[in-house]
């Protein structure tokens, strides 16, 4: 059962890839999909080479750090290249799940860096994300690391719970997207008006984006169910509840986004509603196997409503250009899902103080993972500049980096599609 669920995860790759491709202009479409494939390839190699060794799994080998009378388990100590992994046991399943989900997390920053992040630096950044950053936080949460140990050692129920990767995968990806967006700066023409108002730069194919949402749903069933079974001992019968909650959260999030955009702009915005759907999937990942269905609706509704609001704040007030909405969809919705799990989920062994454990996990993501991922990407950016040249950006990433357009029959003579 768990193996089959893990095999559903690549549907989430396809979903995110289609969404990212649809949200960019036509002159960057092939580059976006090519980067997605490259990043997936680099991520699985990096994860297998060293990521799983550092992630490990609960009950496996790990390094500890003694604090007072307690030993904090801080990084896995398995062997590189999956040597010694028992593929008939939990270790093999954890390795398979980790490989696919590390690749998924690595695709998230592409949404924020779209239309200006060069292929080579994106691959380098991915190698570190999938080979070190994601395995580190995954070990702390799923591999018997200190965030999970808080429960037993300091009376915080089951410790920090993330039963589908809302924090480990989505928020980590979202915070990396934030770092990349900071380092790259906005796209040319985004803030060039006299009033410094951001120009709307619509994506070239909203059908891709909406179809990507449906593909992602199937992948998310796999992620949420496999993680709950593998890391939190949920019974395989919970798969139905996971599917119900994941769909409810996505659906109510889409309605939340559509309602907010309908109220703000007079009509529901298709691409923002699609982002809302994905935010619902992301938030559901915190505890899809443990939310009552009514709670999943609330979690999704809030996540969906948050997306258009946070995208507007980031773009208008904070001058952050995130073409795919990755920071809001994966970062902010992920954090919301983790917090909601502390209050609304029925986690086994959890008490009144579960929200404190969730807050400790959120504090770790913001206080440790964000500086770490920003620092790594800032150093990489020094040696391997992330941003394409001005000419390359004007020409389009397809032609500049790949030598051919995605749609060669479409010749664009205008400077841009931007509204001025």
């Amino acid at each position: 059962m768990t193996s089959f669920l893990i095999l559903l995860i690549p549907f989430a790759f396809a979903g995110l890839a289609l969404m990212n491709a649809g949200l960019v202009r036509s002159r960057n479409a092939a580059h976006t999909l090519m980067t997605t494939l490259t990043v997936a390839a680099v991520a699985v190699l990096a994860y297998v080479a060293c990521g799983f060794a550092w992630q490990g799994f609960s009950g496996g080998e790990a390094y500890g750090l003694t604090v007072g009378k307690q030993t904090w388990n801080w990084i896995g100590a398995e062997r590189f290249l999956l040597r010694g992994v028992d593929f008939d046991g939990v270790g093999g399943l954890a390795a398979g799940f980790g490989m696919f989900t590390a690749a998924l997390a690595a695709m998230i920053p592409l949404g924020a860096g779209a239309e200006r992040w060069r292929l080579g630096p994106a691959a380098a950044s991915t190698a570190v994300l999938a080979g070190f950053t994601v395995p580190l936080i995954a070990h702390w949460t799923w591999g018997g690391g200190f965030l999970a140990q808080f429960g037993k050692m300091y009376g915080l129920g089951p410790g920090f719970v993330d039963a589908g990767g809302a924090g480990v995968l989505q928020t980590t990806g979202g915070l990396t997207a934030l770092s990349v967006a900071w380092l790259l700066g906005p796209r040319r023409g985004k803030y060039s008006g006299q009033d410094r108002m951001p120009a709307a730069i619509p994506g070239h194919n909203v059908v891709f984006v909406l179809f990507g949402c449906l593909m992602a749903l199937i992948g998310w069933f796999g992620i949420n169910a496999a993680a709950a079974i593998l890391f939190y001992g949920a019974s395989p019968g919970r798969v139905v509840l996971v599917a119900i909650n994941t769909t409810l959260a996505a659906g109510s999030a889409l309605l939340g986004s559509a309602l907010v955009t309908r109220t703000r702009f007079g009509k529901p915005d298709a691409s923002l509603a699609a982002n809302g759907w994905t935010a619902g999937l992301v938030a559901s990942s915190a505890a899809a196997a443990f939310f009552p269905p009514a709670a999943a609706i609330i979690v999704g509704l809030v996540a969906g409503a948050l997306v258009p609001i946070s995208i507007e704040i980031l773009e208008l007030r904070l001058f952050l250009d995130d073409p795919g909405g990755a920071i809001s969809v994966h970062g902010i919705a992920g954090l919301w899902g983790l917090l909601a799990a502390g209050f609304l989920a029925r986690l086994p062994g959890a008490g009144d103080g579960q929200w404190l454990a969730q807050l400790a996990g959120i504090a770790t993501l913001l206080g440790c993972i964000l500086p770490l991922t920003y620092g790594i990407n800032a150093i990489l950016n020094r040696f391997l500049p992330f941003r394409v040249s001005l000419d390359g950006e004007r020409q389009g990433m397809d032609l500049h980096e790949l030598g051919a357009n995605a749609y060669p029959e479409l010749v664009t003579h205008l400077e841009d599609f931007t509204q001025r």
Binding site: G155, G353, L356, L359, A360, L366
Partner: protein
């Protein structure tokens, strides 16, 4: 400003971890944990402000 912001993020995290280890009572644990997250939010604001200024500069340059 960016560096100060990142240092505050790390400090907030340290406050949160230390709180869990040193304070077993639920009330004080919750208060200090929230204080740690509040320090992180201040850090995040500083990092955002540090990055907003170059964005203004880029917009001015593009206007010519």
């Amino acid at each position: 400003m960016k560096l100060a912001g990142f240092l505050l993020l790390l400090s907030g995290w340290m406050i949160a971890l230390t709180t869990i280890v040193l304070l077993p009572q639920a009330g004080s644990r919750a208060a200090f944990l929230l204080a740690g997250v509040a320090v992180e939010i201040v850090g995040l604001v500083l990092v955002f402000r540090g990055h907003t200024q170059p964005a203004h500069h880029q917009a001015r340059e593009e206007r010519g």
